[in-house]
Every structure is written in structure tokens, then in C-alpha cells.
Symmetry: C2
Subunit: 194 residues, 2 copies
DNA sequence: GACCATACGGAATTGACGTTCCGCTTGTCA
DNA sequence: TGACAAGCGGAACGTCAATTCCGTATGGTC
């Protein structure tokens, strides 16, 4: 398995790869997965061939970026875990997640189009899953989060947020605030189906 | 402007048009906007050319179907207006809307990808807009709906629902239940931003 | 039943993109 | 500084799906 020897790359190659990743981040964040490989290449000031030398397919490039995002998510979850107040911890995590999505159209699209990709990703990053689970159960134990939400409801909820280009005045902040109120433990809560 | 004289169509043309619309409904509902014109033609037992005789572009065909859906939405809103209990009226409308979306992948996609198309559509159907507004203000007057939601939050909310192919056990019903609890007037509500 | 405008079918065209290929360039190392 | 592998650019290619075109078929009308 350790046959994947890291042969030293040429300096320009390393530089280009970085430029490509950075360009891809921008382009896909702005235009979503519709963005074209040529756009990425142009922004990176590189030929398309070079992009393909570093990432065998568009899918691979997107996957690389997605992986980054999930890593970030996992970090945010970790940080939230350190927050004393349990509701606050939970809320902060959702807030960060939402704002991450709001800033990256490709991410929202991926999540919106196939939320179960989220599941796959989550499985591969069990640090993320574990952290979410802890955030949820802790908040529930403290009686601040309704008892009938499940950790895996969280990704589902987030999929529905941060839709780009909504009607004027429609912001994910409002939507999130509503959802958070729905998640808070309250006497008026109606039991969730299923 | 009344130059749009309705010349009587040939019988087979009328029959075909109907077949095309019906086929399109099925195909787009199942496969979303990715579905191909050839699929529509095949299911309608008609050549592609015929599809294009009736609808100049794929976009036009989709728009026709969307219009239908919005008409249905408006009807549902009308019916909800007749419900005595004001919370019930509001909830019923959202429920129907969500289930409509759940049954039509193309509809969800359209709403998810460009919620502001929703706005345009809503403007053209001011019966829908008006009904939504009434449902909201009535429920607020009765003190059962939080006072800081706006009528136009409703479409935004619905855009986030009915995502197809979610993680196992993730249903729009759960999501809707959470949102509804968040919309209910309650002492624990945190004021919405904006 | 003959005529012809209307309508049809589906092969061909077009355009958009992802991906490949190959001759040229440039780091790296002796 | 010269050799050469690693890396590059971007034109060319292949595919896939929307759209067009045109020869043929058919409903309506006399």
C-alpha cells in the first residue's frame, strides 16, 4: 500500500497545481459545477492539458475540492465541541456550515443534488460524523435540543439551506433562524414523523 | 393584441400535443430537467420533430409544465383559505406544496436551482401571491404564526424542502415538521434577522 | 376521391464540453 | 552548459443532447 512513493515534483509543477486548485475553488464557487475546465485553466493561467495532468477528470477535481470542504466542516465541528454552552455549540456549528455553503455554490449544488453523497462523505470522515453525533446528544442531554432529532437529520437540514440567488430579501440567515427555532426543545413541539 | 387568432388545429395535432404534455410530465417528474427531448418523444410515441412543432424549445416545454404546477399551487392555496382554523390552513398549504414537490423532481430542481424563478412565477400568478399573503397574515392575526415571517419567506422555505434521494430515513416530512415548529409563534422564538 | 395545407418522423446538423495527443519548453542534475 | 526527463499549451477529437430540415403522410374540404 505504501507503493505510492512520493517522487519529488518539479517546482513549476507544484506551483501550477496550487494555481489550479485555487482557480478551481474560485470558479466552482462562483459558477457551480457547471463551470468549465477551460475556465479553470484560463483563471490558473495554464493550458487545459496541465489541468488534466494534475487531475485526471473534472470529477476528480471536484472531489478534491469537496474533500477540502468536508475537512473544513470537520474542523468547525471540532471547534464547536469546545464551546461550553451546549445549545451555543450546536448553533454555532450549523451557522458555520451554512455560511460555508453560502460562499460556495458548488458545495450547495453537490449537497442539494445528492444529499446522500453527503452520507458517503460523512462516512469517510467519521470524525465529522462523530462530532455531529456528540453535538446533538450533548445538546439533547442538556434539554435544549428537541429529543427527536437524529444526528443524520443535520446534514439533511443543511442541504435545504444556503440556496443561491433566492428572492430579494430571502437570506439563508432567516431560514436558518427559523429552523433553529424548530430544533429548540419546546413544549409546543409536534413529534417528528418516522 | 388579439391577433393571436386561434385557428382550429387538426385533430391529430391536438391529440399529439396532449400526449406530449402527458409524457413530458412523467419523464421530467421522474428524471428531472436532465431528461431528454428524445425520451419525451419516445414516451409520447411521436417523433422529436413533433415535440418541437408544439414547443419551440425544451425550455418552453418545461415552462409549460411549471405553469401547470403553479396553477395547482394556487388552487391548493385557495382551498386552504377555506379552512376554519388558521394554523391548520397555513400548515395544510405547506404540506400540499411539499408533497407536490416531492412528486415532481423537475419542480424541486427548478425551485432549488433558481428560487427567484419562483418569484417571477409568483408575480404572474398574483392569485397565488395574494392567497399566500392572506394565509400568513390571518395566521399571524390569530397569534399562531410568528409575527416576523413574511409571505415571501414561504416560497423560500419551500425551496429548501423535498430534496430527492436524501440519506436513508431523511424525509421531507421530518424537515417540514421541524420548520413548522420553527414557524409557530412561541415564547422561545429568536427574532429573525433582516 | 382528389387536393393541399397541416402535421409528422427521424436522420442530419450544430454547438458545447470533457478529454486526449503530441510537438515544444523548461527545470534539474552532472 | 548540455542532456533529458518532466511538464506544458492548446489544437483536435469524440460524445452527447438540443434543434433543424425536408421528404412523406394525413385530416379536412370540395
Amino acid at each position: 500500500m505504501s507503493i505510492t512513493e512520493e517522487r519529488p515534483q518539479r517546482a513549476d509543477a507544484r506551483r501550477n497545481r496550487e494555481a489550479i486548485v485555487s482557480a478551481a475553488r474560485q470558479v466552482f464557487a462562483r459558477h457551480g459545477r457547471e463551470a468549465q475546465m477551460d475556465d479553470v485553466a484560463r483563471r490558473a493561467k495554464v493550458g487545459v492539458g496541465t489541468v488534466y495532468r494534475h487531475f485526471p477528470t473534472k470529477e476528480a477535481l471536484l472531489a478534491g475540492l469537496a474533500e477540502d470542504r468536508f475537512r473544513q466542516l470537520a474542523e468547525h465541528a471540532q471547534e464547536a465541541l469546545a464551546i461550553e454552552d451546549r445549545w451555543d455549540a450546536f448553533e454555532t456549528f450549523l451557522q458555520r456550515w451554512a455560511s460555508l455553503q453560502a460562499s460556495d455554490r458548488a458545495l450547495s449544488q453537490v449537497l442539494a443534488e445528492s444529499p446522500n453523497l453527503m452520507c458517503v462523505a460523512a462516512c469517510e470522515r467519521d470524525d465529522l460524523t462523530a462530532a455531529m453525533r456528540t453535538l446533538v446528544t450533548r445538546a439533547q442531554a442538556a434539554g435544549v435540543l428537541r429529543a427527536d432529532v437524529r444526528a443524520m437529520d443535520v446534514p439533511m437540514i443543511m442541504c435545504g439551506l444556503a440556496r443561491e440567488g433566492g428572492p430579494p430579501g430571502a437570506s439563508w440567515e432567516r431560514m436558518l433562524a427559523i429552523v433553529l427555532d424548530g430544533l429548540r426543545a419546546a413544549a409546543s413541539n409536534v413529534a417528528l414523523p418516522d
